[in-house]
Amino acid sequence: MILSIALRELRSLFLSPIAWIILAILQALLAWKFLAYIDLFFSLQPQLIKIQNAPGVTDLVVAPLFEFSKLLLLIISPLITMRLISEEKQTGSLQLLLSSPVSMSEIVLGKYLAAVLFFCITILLTALMPLSLSFSTDLDYGKLLAGMLGLFLNITAFVALGLYMSTLTRQPVIAASSTFGLLIMFWIINIAGNTDGTGENFFNYISITQHSTQMLRGIVYGSDIAYFILFCLGFILLSIRQLDSQRLQS
């Protein structure tokens, strides 16, 4: 049932131009940046040869590319998640789901899965660029996979937050802007901790940046994975509760 809902959602996404446009723009921007990083690598190469244990292509091209891709996904994800539930509320099609023998958690998980699947496609497309380098050089596949895992976990968090914001309103635009605001907030919240010493640990811990930069560079910590799982679980549960209580209040 979750899968049927997710597939319908994905189908609708690809039937409208938005999915294609987002994929195209993402690809174009990333390709530009990718070329720039490769250029940089070529210009640095003479110096790198002199250093022992010098950083390789994976460190100098793949990691920054993924870092940039994370930023783009942060900007783009509200556009995909905004319509998940608020649009159904607006058009009234949510009534079909609510009057069907489907539980709230199935509805929410189906929607969540659809958006995550969509972004999996973008991650795979992003990963194809560095993979094309493997024809001419040796890549560190471990680091590449760690980077992909990092992007994937980032996406699961972005989508969970966006989904929750989408349950709160009927207006997709409001859902998008509030998701965007909150994501940026989670992005920069560690700055508060860094400027003065107090509360540093706490703000560092709840910041998304803190938990993903290491992973994009190829170092996977269990605590980072736990952070993302908790983050997603929290917002998914909030979404389910929110939908349930709207049946009571509306």
Partner: protein, 334 residues
């Protein structure tokens, strides 16, 4: 005096009791004492709705009376503030999944996805109702055929006209062949021809399913329903079968030489008479239409100068207006 009944008779009596119990239990919908608050407004106030196999129940009421809220509560898309709903023996609160499987619901705004084709949409609706994949195609074709959508399978829903979108909405509600079909203003926005077709469809469906439909088109109720429930300001003010309603029929009478009104009440089959204008009366009673010939004969015999004797105004309309306006005027007066 005690009589000792043979065991077989006792057993049969018990069986009969069980049958009665079973029949009362097998009401398709048993919703009792529903309440619903929207912050301060008491939108639905102690409404009970019962639906049996073969019933086509018309929910009537002015705009904002609480019809849609009632229907949403029956379908489980809105939680009642208080009250108890049993669908086909399953409590909607404790077994929502099983209960909802027996319901097909068309909200006042059809729940459509504009970007899907009719076939895709109906297939999705069937999946949501947990119909096995092997049966989906057959049921989909059946629903399309019933709603006259065969030629529109591959059309995008967003490109269909309002009437056809409404049909897709109805097809979605009947695709899983539910015991209960709940239609919120199913003929809104349709042209007269489509309206007639939809009404025919509803009558056909009513033979095998229980149907609740809401509308404010009174002739529609008279044409389609066999039971009427009127809701006004969140309260159920009338609940009768159509037969009973038609029995309490009225006659219009116009006379040249107006007699005393008491004499009119003595006419055959007439219980009460009211004078609307000089020489113009409304007669009401049970089955007045069958006494029309006698009444005209006695009017002529008394020499009152019979000018007109005709079936009264749409009696449902009169009941409706009486019930929905009287309270308001009395409240305004207070």
């Amino acid at each position: 005096m005690w009589t000792i009944y043979p065991y077989s008779l006792v057993k049969r009596l018990y069986a009969a009791n069980f049958l009665i119990l079973f029949c009362t239990m097998s009401a398709l919908i048993q919703a009792s004492h529903l309440h619903r608050y929207y912050t301060d407004t008491h939108a639905v106030n102690d409404v009970s709705i019962e639906l049996h196999q073969g019933d086509i129940l018309g929910l009537l009421g002015p705009n904002g009376a609480g019809k849609s809220s009632c229907m949403q509560m029956l379908c489980g898309t809105l939680a009642p503030s208080a009250g108890h709903i049993v669908i086909n023996g399953y409590d909607l609160l404790t077994h929502p999944g099983k209960a909802k499987q027996h319901i097909g619901y068309l909200p006042d705004k059809p729940p459509l996805y504009a970007e899907l084709s009719v076939d895709e949409y109906l297939g999705y609706a069937a999946q949501l109702r947990r119909i096995p994949r092997t049966q989906i195609k057959q049921l989909r074709d059946q629903a399309k055929q019933r709603c006259g959508l065969e030629d529109y399978s591959r059309r995008l829903i967003g490109n269909l006209s309002k009437g056809y979108q409404q049909r897709v909405g109805i097809a979605q509600a009947i695709i899983h062949q539910p015991d209960i079909i709940i239609l919120d203003e199913p003929t809104v926005g349709l042209d007269p021809l489509q309206m007639r077709e939809i009404r025919k469809l509803i009558r056909e469906l009513g033979e095998h399913h229980g149907i609740i439909l809401s509308t404010h088109i009174l002739p529609e109720v008279q044409a389609v329903c066999n039971r009427v429930q009127i809701i006004n300001r969140g309260q159920s003010v009338y609940n009768e079968s159509m037969q009973q309603l038609l029995q309490n029929s009225q006659l219009k009478l116009r006379l040249q030489h107006a007699p005393d009104i008491n004499q009119l009440e003595k006419l055959p089959g007439i219980e009460s008479a009211t004078e609307i204008d000089r020489g113009y009366y409304i007669l009401s009673g049970k089955d007045t239409h069958q006494h029309a010939a006698d009444i005209s004969a006695s009017c002529v015999a008394q020499g009152w100068g019979l000018l007109e004797l005709s079936p009264g105004e749409n009696s449902l309309e009169q009941i409706f207006l009486q019930l929905t306006t009287s309270e308001q005027t009395s409240e305004n007066a207070a």
